[in-house]
Symmetry: C2
Subunit: 182 residues, 2 copies
DNA sequence: CCTAGACGTGTCACATTCGACATGTCAACA
DNA sequence: TGTTGACATGTCGAATGTGACACGTCTAGG
């Protein structure tokens, strides 16, 4: 269960963040690699506080609670980072559909691939635009890792787009091959 | 919820498959894009049968049940494939850790990246070996899509490995830059 | 005959996740 | 003064997923 560790890491980096702040980070910055809903987040903050891995370091207006990581939390974060191995948890709906593309007509299958190629190209454009806007040299915050993640995002989208272009070509070749041959 | 549709698609392609057979497919062939545990799978087969999307087409030795897709199931599968859009559900523990690599010492951070590079290289070797062994020209089954998935797996692993190599270099440059500069 | 191992189905308790709902505060502006 | 919208925290039920357990059958080989 990594939401716990995502929160722990975030609180360690962003000192004095509230649940609301953290939610924004999940939406914007961390969202590429890990997602969390609001109810999940507040629930987990409660559990982490109960377990003593984080603590409420200050309270602000509107019931705002600012969190800080405790020594126990730091130890747990470190343990997770250096002593446990990540297990890839593969679950990809886009690729799952590709698996069953035989089940629908060729027009629709090609349509699906075209839509995916368009969507991925769009995402790549967005990323390129975003990269120009973001103030990379700014102090504090996650921009160091943000840059790495941004590059990963770009490579990932490009790889997928290129694969779809290739798969589409394969599909058409198989199709025309079966048509003229046999 | 895509497990339902993964099963539906599989039963449509592999006629007369049992739960046990399907489990093998998840372990070997489909595992790259979608995972399922045994308890999940049998549970879902029961639900699909109750809903009338699949039916038990034959019973074999050892209580074996063979499943077939019904017209309603075919319609549902088709609906899912052509009329709904996949929502990417990003959750990647390996990349999540990268986000928090600042939290540990440089030796350990570089160690993590090296381990990832090794692991990915290993996976790529495995895939190359597997590709030579698999009888691609065989009739029936998933080899058509298997080939697409195989290529995707190769590109995905290679992309990640290359990214880690790049990120490692970035990390070292930032480190020595901060050390000699400033 | 016995037994190991593949084949085969199923349940149960627990944890995690999701989406919707409920509640309230503070600042800005008409 | 009223109201809009960002800030802010929380609960609840239902769906999903995980790992362990429980049970029974058929085949090959010692």
């Amino acid at each position: 269960m990594s939401l716990r560790h995502a929160l722990l890491g975030l609180i360690a980096e962003l000192d004095g963040a509230s649940g609301y702040d953290l939610l924004k980070v999940f939406e914007i910055s961390l969202g590429t690699v890990w997602q969390a809903t609001q109810s999940q987040l507040y629930g987990e903050l409660g559990k982490l506080t109960d377990t003593g891995l984080i603590e409420v370091s200050a309270e602000g207006p509107r019931g705002r609670k600012e969190y800080a990581i405790t020594d126990a939390g730091q130890a747990e974060l470190r343990h997770w980072l250096v002593e446990t191995e990540p297990k890839p948890h593969r679950r990809d709906e886009v690729m799952l559909r590709v698996f069953f593309l035989d089940q629908i007509g060729p027009e629709e299958a090609l349509g699906y691939m075209d839509r995916m190629i368009d969507a991925l190209s769009g995402r790549l454009d967005e990323l390129a635009r975003l990269e120009e806007i973001v103030p990379w040299e700014e102090e504090g915050g996650l921009t160091g890792n943000g840059r790495l993640t941004m590059e990963y995002g770009k490579r990932f989208m490009a790889m997928r787009r290129d694969w779809f272009v290739w798969a589409r070509k394969q599909y058409e070749e198989r199709r025309s091959g079966a048509g003229t041959g046999g």
